[in-house]
Amino acid sequence: MIKLQNVTKEYPRHGAALKDVSFHIRKGDFAFITGHSGSGKSTTLRLIHLADRPSSGIVRVSGFSSERTPAREVWKVRRRVGMVFQDFRLLPGRTATENVAFALEVTGTPAHKIKARTQRLLSQVGLAAKAGSLIHELSGGEQQRVAIARALVNDPVVLLADEATGNLDDRATRGIMELFWEINALGMTVLMATHDLELHRIYPRARVLELAHGQLVYDSLAAPADPSPASASPSPHGTESVADAGRGP
């Protein structure tokens, strides 16, 4: 579903953000990408979303590859890969319904389908009662739910979350994480970038990929099997594991 093969990303002024990173996430996986600020988490998600191209290596996502998808066709990827952010990126001055419906309108969905799908998604994220509220009238957790509904409304197969709980309190974070798990349980691949190490301790079933200084230093799938829950936690120093580069699709 998502495959990075020897991906390096260099920026002219900031040097390498990612160095020879390879991993493969299968359909239906739930994975965390962790690491400190500047470790390359957001760059990885941007590359998967084809908002940026690797300097070398290949990114494959849901049948698209970074080297064969021209800029004018990136929209096809965006409809298969939803994305949510720490700062929600919602349109102010519009209601929750309008924000979700907007994603359908701009992808050319017929008007008669928009209302029903918007209502269904807002119900799914638990916001049916606040569908008519303006964005600034909603709490942070509720705004993130609107953003998730918007990301899902075009039926993507992958959901990328870039520090999606970074601005939320513990309660709202738990609510959003439960929502991600529910979405994942329906078969969607979820990849969440976070610097919150607690999250993958709370959700040990999730796969963990840890980045440090642009390199993949830990992959829970490749780590030695250990029945203890602690084994699901990544290396605090990011030195003990290797990437799962060789696994097939």
Partner: protein, 285 residues
């Protein structure tokens, strides 16, 4: 396309002040161009009127045979660029002189012999009233043996054509400068309007809208802002025209083709500015 129209109109509704200001800026920029157009057009009209008066007078010797004059008239009429050759008899010349110079009417009446010569007045077609054409026709006329003299106010014509050249170059440079300034102002105004909606563009890219789908409403908005600005400029220019006409002196209104070109320029500037501004926002999302 329905979505583009709906979103373009919604854009005006959502930010009426910003889009109103954009249109006003476009309007004021084009108003300056409109005023320049008004001045340039009237200068052109004045020069054309002066040009219309350019003619060659061929003075005939007394006693010229009418058959010779008729042949000459026919031959001169056939020359390229000649619009009309009119014979003015000695009597007609005297009548004209009496009419145009009433203070000398008594002098003309007391004359026992008419001192004014018969003449041929040659008018050239538009586009042939150049020094070269005038000289060429004058040379042909001068060659007839019954011709006493040929005049066309050479010094005056030279000055007129120099003035015309200076006016054309000045108008070209000033017009280009005004148009460039207008284009910059329009570009800035629409860039501000699009910058204010960059989040919307970002979200559209994020959720998988095609570039064409994103562009269309903004280009349409640019076209509408440009058109409204053009209409505003037209109204303001017309107000100035009426004020000058009523309070100062008679001036001509700008030709329809120029007005249409002005409105089209507003629309084109609007669309191009929006397209250029959008290009930047569509990158890197």
């Amino acid at each position: 396309m329905t979505h583009a129209v709906r979103e373009a109109l919604a854009g005006f509704k959502r930010a009426p002040v910003l889009t109103g200001l954009s249109s006003a800026m476009v309007g004021l920029a084009l108003f300056v161009v409109g005023l320049f157009g008004l001045v340039a057009h009237n200068l052109r009209v004045a020069l054309t009127e002066l040009e219309d008066r350019v003619e060659i007078i061929v003075y005939l010797r007394d006693g010229s045979l009418s058959t010779e004059v008729e042949t000459a008239t026919y031959q001169l009429s056939a020359l390229p660029g000649v619009a009309e050759v009119r014979y003015v008899s000695k009597d007609s010349a005297l009548e004209t002189a009496k009419a145009e110079l009433p203070e000398f009417e008594e002098v003309f009446t007391d004359l026992s012999v008419n001192p004014l010569p018969a003449s041929l007045e040659i008018r050239l077609r538009e586009g042939f009233r150049t020094e070269t054409s005038l000289e060429r026709v004058a040379d042909v006329a001068r060659a007839y043996p019954f011709v006493e003299d040929v005049t066309y106010g050479r010094a005056w014509v030279e000055r007129l054509f120099t003035l015309r050249r200076v006016a054309a170059v000045t108008a070209g440079i000033l017009g280009a400068a005004f148009a460039a300034v207008a284009a910059l102002i329009i570009g800035t105004a629409l860039r501000i309007a699009i910058f204010a909606r960059r989040e919307e563009i970002y979200v559209m890219r994020l959720v998988g809208a095609t570039d064409g789908f994103i562009r269309r409403p903004f280009l349409l908005e640019g076209a509408i802002a440009g058109f409204l600005g053009g209409v505003l400029a037209l109204v303001l220019t017309f107000v100035v025209f009426r004020m000058v006409y009523e309070l100062l002196f008679e001036v001509s209104w700008i030709p329809l083709s120029w007005l249409m070109a002005g409105l089209a320029a507003g629309v084109v500037f609007g669309v191009l500015s929006s397209a250029l501004s959008l290009r930047r926002h569509l990158k890197g999302v």
